[in-house]
């Protein structure tokens, strides 16, 4: 039996059709797109086509609003630092406590450099308080950066509405949409979003390619200055093969948008329903009514996530965890803690994330395997008794240091 890959929010397989499209751009079409001869010219046209494909998926008004970068993180950093550079009189940033480290760590660092960061909190389902958000918008704020969809729980934020509110207050709005692009329909020309980040490898393009969408007219300062590539907004010779691959991947994502939101969603729903029915003391995290179609984040109480992943891996199932131990830090996932999930459950959270390459047969196999693994680990847990959690787990087992 082949292994089952349910970690598509971490990265995805390069689609074979995407790979085919990329192949000529290594040994045959190797020219520099800036060159005027035939070698370069053909590559230049290929990039133009790819830019259009990305534009179409995002529903951007102009193809010049698409800037190719090296990854999602570069796009995020470029967007936020650009807003600060372009508006030196504005020293505040609004973001959320559940952002990806690409935004979170940067904002924490900016705090040490004297910027004020307003951290929007979330409720138990991972939702934001928009009244609170509105009260923070002012002419002191340089940029709002809010993710479109959370990478751990899949919860969607109302970024279009938030961008509109920011625009009314005259504030730039950036969204880290690396988890959303290709999974939910996006139409930027009808939104007030100033900037958007995406990452190729989350939608079946290769790693090492990203995009910053920059709305025409939004004030901008490049992160990398140098050559005239990307109209001087991101210097550095283009990663032509990856750009071509990303273009193809965007075209395919648009074609599969319906499939993603029906078939992929059905697999995710079946998995969650199957696991909740078979395993006591587990629950989905985030907002199950408003999340990515491909993501189910399930907290298995009284056991630890890394141990679950290792046993899943042993039977050929790949998933991921918000557990502290998988990242080398001691605290459990900041996303789970932000939602107020108790430690006994936060450490045991497992994220299953699908792609269009998964099948219902795989889902059934996972539903068969997981209950045994959870039972095995609970048997080892000091929080678990004969047939259920010990009474008052917090009191029955209160270790010396806590």
């Amino acid at each position: 039996m082949s292994d089952i890959y349910l970690d598509n929010n971490a990265t995805t397989m390069v689609d074979p059709a995407v790979f085919e499209e990329m192949k000529p751009y290594f040994c045959e079409q190797f020219g520099n797109p800036s060159s005027l001869h035939n070698f370069g010219n053909k590559v230049g046209f290929a990039l133009k086509k790819a830019r259009k494909q990305v534009q179409d998926l995002l529903g951007a008004e102009h193809d010049s609003e698409i800037i190719f970068t090296s990854c999602g993180t570069e796009s995020d950093s470029t967007a936020i630092l650009s807003a600060l550079k372009a508006q030196p009189e504005r020293k505040e940033i609004i973001t959320t406590v559940v952002e990806h480290p690409a935004v979170l760590t940067l904002c924490e660092h900016l705090e040490t450099e004297g910027y004020t960061v307003h951290w929007l909190e979330v409720d138990s389902k991972g939702r934001l308080d928009l009244d609170k958000y509105k009260s923070l918008l002012s002419d002191k704020v340089a940029i709002v950066s809010v993710m479109w969809a959370n990478n751990e729980s899949g919860t969607l934020f109302p970024v279009e509405e938030m961008a509109q509110m920011a625009a009314e207050a005259g504030v730039m709005f950036h969204t880290d949409a690396v988890q959303a692009v290709g999974k939910v329909p996006i139409n930027l020309k009808d939104s007030a979003i100033s900037m958007l980040s995406l990452s190729g490898h989350k939608l079946h393009a290769p790693k090492g390619i990203g995009v910053l969408y920059l709305r025409r007219g939004v004030r901008y300062r490049p992160l990398l200055r140098g050559g005239h590539q990307e109209r001087g907004r991101r210097a550095g010779t283009e990663n032509a093969a990856a750009i071509v691959g990303l273009g193809k991947a965007c075209e395919m994502a648009a074609e599969h948008m319906e499939f993603e939101n029906t078939q992929v969603k059905a697999m995710r729903d079946r998995l969650q329903e199957g696991l909740l029915a078979a395993i006591p003391h587990c629950f989905p995290t985030g907002d199950p009514d408003n999340r990515l179609p491909n993501t189910a984040s399930i907290a298995f109480e009284y056991i630890e996530g890394e141990a679950i992943l290792l046993l899943l891996n042993k039977v050929g199932i790949a998933a991921s965890s918000g557990s502290a131990c998988t990242s080398g830090s001691l605290e459990p996932s900041h996303v789970m803690r932000a939602m107020g999930i108790p430690y006994t459950a936060a450490h045991g959270t497992v994220r299953f994330s699908f792609s269009r390459y998964n099948t219902m047969e795989e889902v059934e196999r996972v539903i068969e395997e997981v209950p045994g693994i959870v039972a095995k680990l609970r048997k080892l847990s000091p929080y678990w008794g004969e047939d259920g959690p010990v009474e008052n787990p917090g009191e029955a087992f209160a270790p010396v240091y806590a």
Binding site: I303, E304, A307, K379, P399, V400
Partner: protein, 302 residues
Amino acid sequence: MWDYSEKVKEHFYDPKNAGAVEGANGVGDVGSISCGDALRLTLKVEPETEVILDAGFQTFGCGSAIASSSALTEMIKGMTLDDALKISNQDIADYLDGLPPEKMHCSVMGREALQAAVANYRGEVWEDDHEEGALVCKCFAIDEVMIEDTIRANNLHTVEEVTNYTKAGGGCSSCHEGIENILTRVLAENGETFVAGGAAVPAPAAAAAKAPESPKMGTLARIRKIEAVLDSIRPALQADGGDVELIDVDEKSIYVNLTGACTGCQMAAMTLGGIQQRLIEELGEFVKVVPVAKESLVSMGA
């Protein structure tokens, strides 16, 4: 991705002594649910001999926490309490053929559970004297709390001093920004300001070699000089339980053998670099220090 040894996997996939021991007379609960690791160790001790007849564990934790718990119970069964207490966390890690630096705290938890269980058996109260912070130096598994405490206790002011006292930052040097941030914070407690000292770029060895233009030494004088340099370094190595011996000199290559605690020490490469730097300075020429093991001497033709 974790690089677990086969032994860790074996103890994780098939843990020994899982569950509470029946008729236990010593129980140790340690760990912290917020950190995702908690361990209950139960012991059955024979009162007359203080021999551990049986040991069992219940662990909430990751793969290496479960493996460390399982290893600990295997190690202590049949031991007297006093012998068992001599087990260090490094012994547990060694039993498992090593743990990744991020996971060394799992072995620490094992040792602490043992101390707590013995204290419980003896009717004593065990107090945890160990606080753990975020991992800063991954090369030597040094956490934030340890660095902070060491800075305060020894009035340290530079990254280099922190490395000398704790080893943190002595490996790949990626954590130097983190150490500088800790220094900035701790020094600010006393109203002091952290000033990054020294050169921003380490001087290449070759550049330093140019400095002294001493007359060329004869072979014997040169070897005596090398011996003298090694002798001057020796006390520092012996203080850490190691030593160095000169094996051979072949033009620009100086072959040495690091012995004792230096063997297998992760700092060995740094130590060699330091010796090489000293030799370059003293000899006034570029030389290369090459580590060799005694056994390989024959093949070297020495």
